[in-house]
C-alpha cells in the first residue's frame, strides 16, 4: 500500500524551514488540508475536514512537541519520528470513534462526477494493494457498518498524512526515504481499530511500520523511546 504521497513529501522537504513551518498553524493548516485531500482522492472518497477539529489537534500536538523539545538534540531523526507519531495520535484522538467524527467526514458517494471516474481507476489500484482486511472493510462492509468503514478510511487518511510529513522531515535531514510496511492484513486492521479506541497505540504501530523498535508499554512517553534513551546514555557517558 502506498501510504506516503511522494510528490507532497518532496515538495515539503524543499521548504528550507520545514521544522519551524510544521509547527506553525498557517503552514500546517494548508499542508494538512492538501495531504488529507490527496490521500482521500487516492482512496476514491471525498473527505470533509473539520477545521476546528484540525486546529484543536494541531495545538494539542504542538503542546506535546514543545514539552519534549529538549530531547530533540539527542537524536533529531528519532525525534521527528516521535513528532509524526504524536501527530497521528492527536488526529486519531480528535477523530474519535463514536458516531460523530471530530475531524474527517468521509463521503464515499459524494465525489464530483468529474473526479469520480478518475478515482475509480485509482481505487482499484489502491484497494488491490491494501491489506485484505482493510480493503474488505472499506469496500464490502455491510450497510450497518457504514460508521466502521468511515472510521477505517479516516484512519488511513490520518496515517497517510502523518507518514507523508515524516517523509518530508526525513528527506530534509538527509535521511534515506522511508518505505513503511503496513504489515499483514491482521496487523493493519488491528492498528486502525486500536488507534481509534486508544490513540496512543498509533505511536507504537507507526514506529513498527517504520522499522523502529516500538515502545508498547507507554508509547506516548517520548523520553522512553529506545533511540532517544540510547542517545541520552551516550551523551551522559560521552
Amino acid at each position: 500500500m502506498q501510504l506516503i504521497i511522494d510528490e507532497l513529501a518532496q515538495r515539503w522537504a524543499r521548504e528550507p524551514r520545514l521544522r519551524q513551518c510544521i509547527v506553525a498553524w498557517r503552514w500546517f493548516a494548508g499542508a494538512a488540508h492538501e495531504g488529507l485531500q490527496q490521500a482521500a482522492q487516492r482512496l476514491g472518497v471525498a473527505a470533509q475536514i473539520d477545521v476546528d477539529g484540525l486546529c484543536r489537534a494541531f495545538f494539542d500536538w504542538v503542546r506535546l512537541v514543545e514539552l519534549h523539545a529538549h530531547l530533540e538534540p539527542r537524536d533529531p531523526l528519532d525525534f521527528r519520528h516521535a513528532m509524526a507519531a504524536l501527530l497521528a495520535q492527536q488526529l486519531f484522538a480528535t477523530q474519535g470513534h463514536g458516531h460523530i467524527a471530530g475531524l474527517l467526514t468521509i463521503e464515499a458517494d459524494a465525489m464530483p462526477a468529474a473526479t469520480a471516474a478518475a478515482a475509480q481507476t485509482m481505487t482499484a489500484t489502491v484497494t488491490a494493494a491494501m491489506p485484505a482486511a482493510t480493503a474488505a472493510a472499506a469496500a464490502d462492509a455491510p450497510a450497518g457498518a457504514v460508521g466502521a468503514t468511515s472510521s477505517v478510511r479516516a484512519g488511513t487518511l490520518i496515517t497517510s498524512l502523518a507518514l507523508t510529513l515524516l517523509q518530508a522531515l526525513r528527506l530534509q535531514l538527509g535521511a534515506p526515504a522511508l518505505r513503511p510496511d503496513p504489515g499483514t492484513a491482521a496487523s493493519w486492521a488491528s492498528y486502525l481499530e486500536n488507534a481509534a479506541q486508544d490513540p496512543s497505540t498509533a505511536i507504537g504501530y507507526l514506529d513498527q511500520m517504520c522499522g523502529l523498535e516500538p515502545q508498547w508499554t507507554a508509547p506516548a512517553q517520548i523520553d522512553a523511546r529506545p533511540a532517544l534513551q540510547h542517545a541520552g546514555a551516550g551523551l551522559r557517558h560521552g
Partner: protein
C-alpha cells in the same frame, strides 16, 4: 542622575472623556432603538398577526375574514420590510461604515489600536474597529440576529481600562521579550501580555448585552467601579474575567466567593443579571477578536475577514485552555502564557 535610555512613557488621560461617552451612548441608543423597533416589527408579523387572525374567526377559502387577514398581514410585512430598508439606508449613509459593516477592511497591528495617536479622540479608532469586530464575531458564531446588542461606549471604555493596565504592566524589563512571546516596540509589554490585558479589559467592560434586556438592568449604566480606581490598582481590571469564565451559565449567577478579592463594587455591578446572561457567548467572541488582531504582523496589515476567521477557529480550539487560564490564581500571567503559546505557533516566521 543619568538620563533613561527607555523612551518616555506617554502620559495618557486615564478616563473616557464625557463628550466621547455621550456621543457613543447616543450612537448605542440609536442602534438599540433601531434593533428593538425591528424586533418589535418581527414580533408583530410572526406572533401577534397570526394570533389576531386566529381570534378573528374561521379563515380558509370560505372564511369571511380572509381578505381582512390578508390585508393586515401584508401591511405588517410591508412595514417590516420598509423599516429594515430604512434602517439599512440610514446606517449605510449616516454612519459611513459600509466597509466595516461588510467586514471589508484591513486590520492594523494591535499596537496601532492601543497607541491612541489621535489626540482629540485617542480611543476612537479602537472603539470603531473593535465594535465591528465583535459584531462580526458574534455573527460568525451563528448567534441569531437581534439576540445580542454590542455597546460601543463600553468598547471604548475597554480601551481606557487597557491603558491603565498597560501602564501598570510595562516595567522596563519586559521590553526584552523572549522568542515567542510576541514582539512589541521597546518600552511596551510583550504582545502576549498586551493580548491578555486586552481580553481582560474587554471582559471587564462587557460590551455584549442581551438585546431583550431592559437598559436600566445593565450594570454599566452606573458609573463603572473600575474607572474610579487608581491606575494600576490590582482591581482596576477586576477579577471579573475569572468569575465570568467559571460561571458562564445561568443568568443572575454571582461571582464566586473569593474571586472578588477586594473589588466588591466591581464584582457586584458586573455580576448583574444582564451581564451574566451574555457570558457564555462573550468569552469565545472576545477571544476571537483579540486573536484576530494579534495575528496581524507587527509591520503589516491583515484582511479583517481572514483574521477574524482565524481568530474564531483558534478561539474554538483553545477555549478550554483559555478558560483554565482565567481560573488560574494568576490569570494575567496564565493568559499571557497561553497567548504566547498560540502566537508563536501561528506563523512560520515566528
Amino acid at each position: 542622575m543619568k538620563p533613561s535610555l527607555l523612551p518616555a512613557r506617554r502620559t495618557a488621560p486615564t478616563q473616557q472623556s464625557t463628550l466621547t461617552a455621550v456621543e457613543l451612548s447616543l450612537k448605542d441608543g440609536a442602534r438599540a432603538f433601531s434593533l428593538h423597533a425591528q424586533l418589535c416589527a418581527q414580533w408583530l408579523v410572526r406572533d401577534v398577526g397570526p394570533r389576531l387572525a386566529q381570534r378573528m374567526g374561521p379563515l380558509g377559502p370560505g372564511g369571511r375574514l380572509q381578505p381582512l387577514h390578508g390585508l393586515v398581514e401584508s401591511a405588517a410585512r410591508q412595514t417590516l420590510t420598509q423599516l429594515e430598508a430604512v434602517q439599512h439606508r440610514v446606517a449605510a449613509t449616516a454612519l459611513a461604515d459600509e466597509r466595516m459593516r461588510a467586514l471589508d477592511f484591513t486590520l492594523l497591528p494591535l499596537q496601532d489600536y492601543l497607541a491612541g495617536n489621535d489626540a482629540r479622540n485617542p480611543s476612537g479608532l479602537f472603539a470603531d474597529v473593535f465594535y465591528w469586530l465583535i459584531r462580526h464575531a458574534l455573527a460568525l458564531l451563528n448567534e441569531p440576529h437581534g439576540r445580542w446588542l454590542v455597546q460601543q461606549r463600553l468598547v471604548d471604555e475597554a480601551w481606557w481600562r487597557l491603558q491603565r493596565a498597560l501602564q501598570a504592566a510595562a516595567p522596563p524589563s519586559t521590553a526584552a521579550a523572549g522568542p515567542g512571546s510576541g514582539q512589541a516596540p521597546p518600552g511596551q509589554p510583550p504582545l502576549a501580555l498586551q493580548c491578555a490585558l486586552l481580553l481582560r479589559a474587554l471582559q471587564a467592560a462587557q460590551p455584549i448585552r442581551e438585546a431583550t434586556l431592559a437598559p436600566w438592568l445593565a450594570a454599566h449604566d452606573a458609573p463603572a467601579a473600575g474607572m474610579a480606581q487608581p491606575a494600576g490598582a490590582a482591581g482596576s481590571m477586576g477579577p471579573v474575567g475569572v468569575g465570568q469564565a467559571a460561571t458562564a451559565t445561568a443568568a443572575g449567577s454571582a461571582v464566586p466567593a473569593g474571586a472578588a478579592g477586594g473589588t466588591t463594587a466591581a464584582a457586584a455591578t458586573e455580576s448583574s443579571a444582564g451581564s451574566a446572561g451574555s457570558l457564555g457567548t462573550a468569552l469565545p467572541v472576545m477571544l476571537a477578536v483579540v486573536l484576530a488582531v494579534a495575528s496581524v504582523p507587527l509591520h503589516g496589515q491583515g484582511d479583517a475577514a481572514a483574521c477574524l476567521h482565524l481568530g474564531q477557529t483558534i478561539a474554538a480550539a483553545r477555549l478550554t485552555a483559555f478558560e483554565a487560564a482565567l481560573l488560574h490564581p494568576s490569570p494575567q500571567d496564565a493568559l499571557a502564557a497561553e497567548f504566547a503559546f498560540v502566537l508563536r505557533h501561528l506563523d512560520p516566521c515566528n
